[in-house]
């Protein structure tokens, strides 16, 4: 898999902080001034996807382990906290952590099983694990409610992580995104990050140099799963309804990877750029075109995604950086 090394090299230049702070301020300003639930819904959704994509990016991007089975972790997070809330009245704040721990353990298991697989074989193995999670969610009715899904009562309270207004949820999603981005930032600059990139670029050479790539990969996939599960809990608390298709479906796994790829895999800003483009685009197109023929909005969406991928195959972030650098160079 070719992923530009120069992109991660520039990422090292702390340049990221130039956009994290203004980005956060812009979000807060948006939350403080905008009252339109439609716009806030787009913001919340974008932030949640950005967080999930950033988490995916840790193993999918930095380590180059393209997973299309992350829905398994998302589902574990969503179902664990929801089940504990509905059956034992346990606060999702705690349920979220338990779900995250379960997801990390699952990831350790899956990671250990798939160490020998590379390339498309790894991709397909993750696809299979995602599919297994989906089937289990559908047939384990006593826990997941099966296809009927689970519904969280709308009883706003901080302890139940249910909020009457969307602003609170937007702040929560923003906080989560910042935590994920902060973690990725730390990892990127640590030995762990270097090991991941070394694995991605050339495993044999890295190991010959004494880099413990296996350990690094397992840690990365565990952290990735952990945050994905937390996103799952937040998703459940936001939509207040989960079912196997919406939290363990293949569409989640594909979407989260697509966001990273559009934005630029293996870069800190990639998942955020990707989410900021893809999510509002999908929502706005649906809004603008759903009064026309059924499916038209998805036709336009697909065409636009194809054009972006063809024009900027390495993602928006790296391509922009390259242009900026080229401009500076002149």
């Amino acid at each position: 898999m070719t992923i530009s090394t120069s992109a991660s090299a520039t990422a090292r230049e702390w340049a990221d902080l130039y956009w994290i702070v203004p980005g956060t301020v812009a979000c807060l300003a948006f939350i403080a001034t905008v009252r339109d639930p439609f716009a806030l819904d787009i913001l919340v959704t974008t932030l949640l996807w950005a967080a999930a994509a950033s988490a995916w990016n840790l193993s999918g991007g930095y380590a180059g382990q393209l997973s299309i089975g992350h829905a398994a972790y998302f589902g574990i997070g969503a179902y664990t906290s929801t089940y504990l809330l509905l059956i034992y009245g346990l606060s999702p704040w705690i349920g979220m952590l338990i779900g995250a721990a379960l997801a990390a353990l699952t990831a350790l298991g899956i990671g250990a099983l798939t160490v020998r697989l590379r390339g498309s074989f790894f991709v397909m193995a993750t696809l299979a694990f995602g599919a297994i999670a989906h089937i289990v969610a559908a047939i384990w009715r006593s826990v997941t409610g099966g296809s009927n899904g689970l519904s969280i009562p709308f009883e706003p309270s901080f302890a139940r992580m249910v909020f009457a207004d969307k602003q609170s949820f937007a702040i929560l999603a923003l906080a989560l995104l910042l935590i994920v981005v902060g973690t990725v930032l730390l990892i990127e600059r640590s030995k762990l990050g270097a090991s991941l990139v070394a694995y991605r670029e050339d495993d044999a050479a890295a190991r010959a140099l004494g880099v413990r790539t296996l350990r690094a990969r397992l840690i990365a996939i565990m952290i990735s799963a952990l945050f994905t599960a937390i996103c799952g809990t937040l998703h459940a608390q936001y939509t207040l309804y989960i079912d196997p298709d919406s939290v363990t479906g293949l569409s989640f796994s594909l979407q989260v990877a697509l966001i990273c790829i559009v934005g630029g895999v293996g870069t800190l800003s990639g998942p955020i750029l990707g989410a900021a483009l893809i999510i509002p685009l999908a929502s706005l197109l649906r809004g603008a075109l759903s009064s026309s023929g059924s499916g038209l909005h998805l036709v336009v969406y697909a065409v636009m995604v194809i054009m972006v991928l063809l024009a900027l195959p390495e993602g928006i972030g790296p391509s922009l950086m390259r242009r900026v650098r080229a401009a500076r160079g002149k």
Binding site: G119, A138, L250, L258, S294, L298, I306, L309, P313
Partner: protein
């Protein structure tokens, strides 16, 4: 009891024949172009619609429709390869995968726009007639489909093995650069392989039309099993795709009968994972091939 076992086995094998045919084109395209084509199922869906249309508008029997649908699928394959796939070959692997994914969304929703979400099916009286082979009941159309699938796979295999073009296809799969140095017009091989892959999955589409209905999302439902089959068989391995297709069909039938229909897919996914753990290159994968596709 024995009768049930036999019946299950035969049903599984017959279903597996179609899985094999769906997967042969996918594995070829993967082997040669190194493209995991997520839109493969949509080619099948389009072929099903085309067959439906020929049947209802022009009363063309589905088995005759093969003669019309296959060339059309071939041309459609050439067109998409030229318009899209070719332009992604130098892109990172993942960008490539997601271009085909977006293509599948595009084709599904174009189909939705043109033909609505309603299921369409055709009724051919002879399709449901039954042959008795000993105690086993075999549906005519399923049997014919199986024979066509296996003969087609064998023909493709022979073409790859014994013709110059087939050898060039294999050579391109193994080393693009060397193939170019031998004077192979690699772009033409790509285009031809993609067209062949499209025609093969279209054939599967025509064959199943008398058996199940089609709607814009039918392809998406079939593609998952085709992926499992392709990887299980060893990516790029034609024989592997056929064997794995039949195996999945049989596993599904036995799992459904003994463990319950709701877990039949769970069983073959688990089987798939176990095989990958033991044989990371699939059943018939060439040693080292699992890293060959890392661009």
């Amino acid at each position: 009891m024995l009768e049930t076992l036999l019946q299950l086995f035969v049903s599984g094998i017959l279903a597996g024949g179609i899985y094999a045919l769906m997967s042969v084109g996918l594995t070829l395209v993967f082997g040669v172009l190194r493209v995991v084509n997520f839109a493969h199922g949509e080619y099948m869906m389009l072929a099903m619609y085309f067959t439906f249309w020929l049947f209802t508008q022009l009363s063309v029997d589905p088995y005759v429709a093969i003669l019309i649908v296959l060339p059309a699928a071939w041309l459609f394959g050439i067109a998409t390869e030229w318009l899209l796939i070719r332009r992604t070959l130098d892109a990172p692997h993942i960008a490539q995968v997601f271009v085909t994914l977006a293509l599948s969304v595009l084709l599904q929703n174009l189909a939705l726009l043109f033909w609505t979400a309603d299921f369409r099916s055709i009724f051919v009286p002879y399709a449901s007639s039954v042959v008795e082979i000993g105690p086993v009941l075999v549906t005519w159309s399923r049997l014919i489909n199986f024979i066509i699938a296996i003969v087609t796979a064998a023909a493709v295999g022979a073409m790859l093995k014994y013709t110059y073009t087939g050898m060039a296809i294999r050579a391109t799969a193994q080393d693009r650069r060397s193939a170019r140095l031998m004077g192979v017009n690699v772009d033409r091989i790509y285009s031809m392989t993609f067209a062949l892959g499209s025609a093969l999955v279209a054939l599967a589409g025509v064959l199943v039309m008398p058996l199940f209905p089609v709607n814009p999302f039918s392809g998406g439902e079939f593609i998952l099993v085709a992926f499992v089959v392709v990887v299980l068989g060893g990516m790029g391995s034609l024989l592997g795709a056929v064997v794995a297709g039949l195996a999945i069909g049989v596993i599904e039938a036995f799992a459904a009968f003994y463990l319950g229909s709701e877990v039949k897919q769970l069983v073959y996914f688990l089987f798939f994972v176990v095989v990958l753990l033991v044989m990371p290159a699939g059943l018939f994968g060439k040693r080292g091939a699992e890293v060959m596709d890392v661009t």
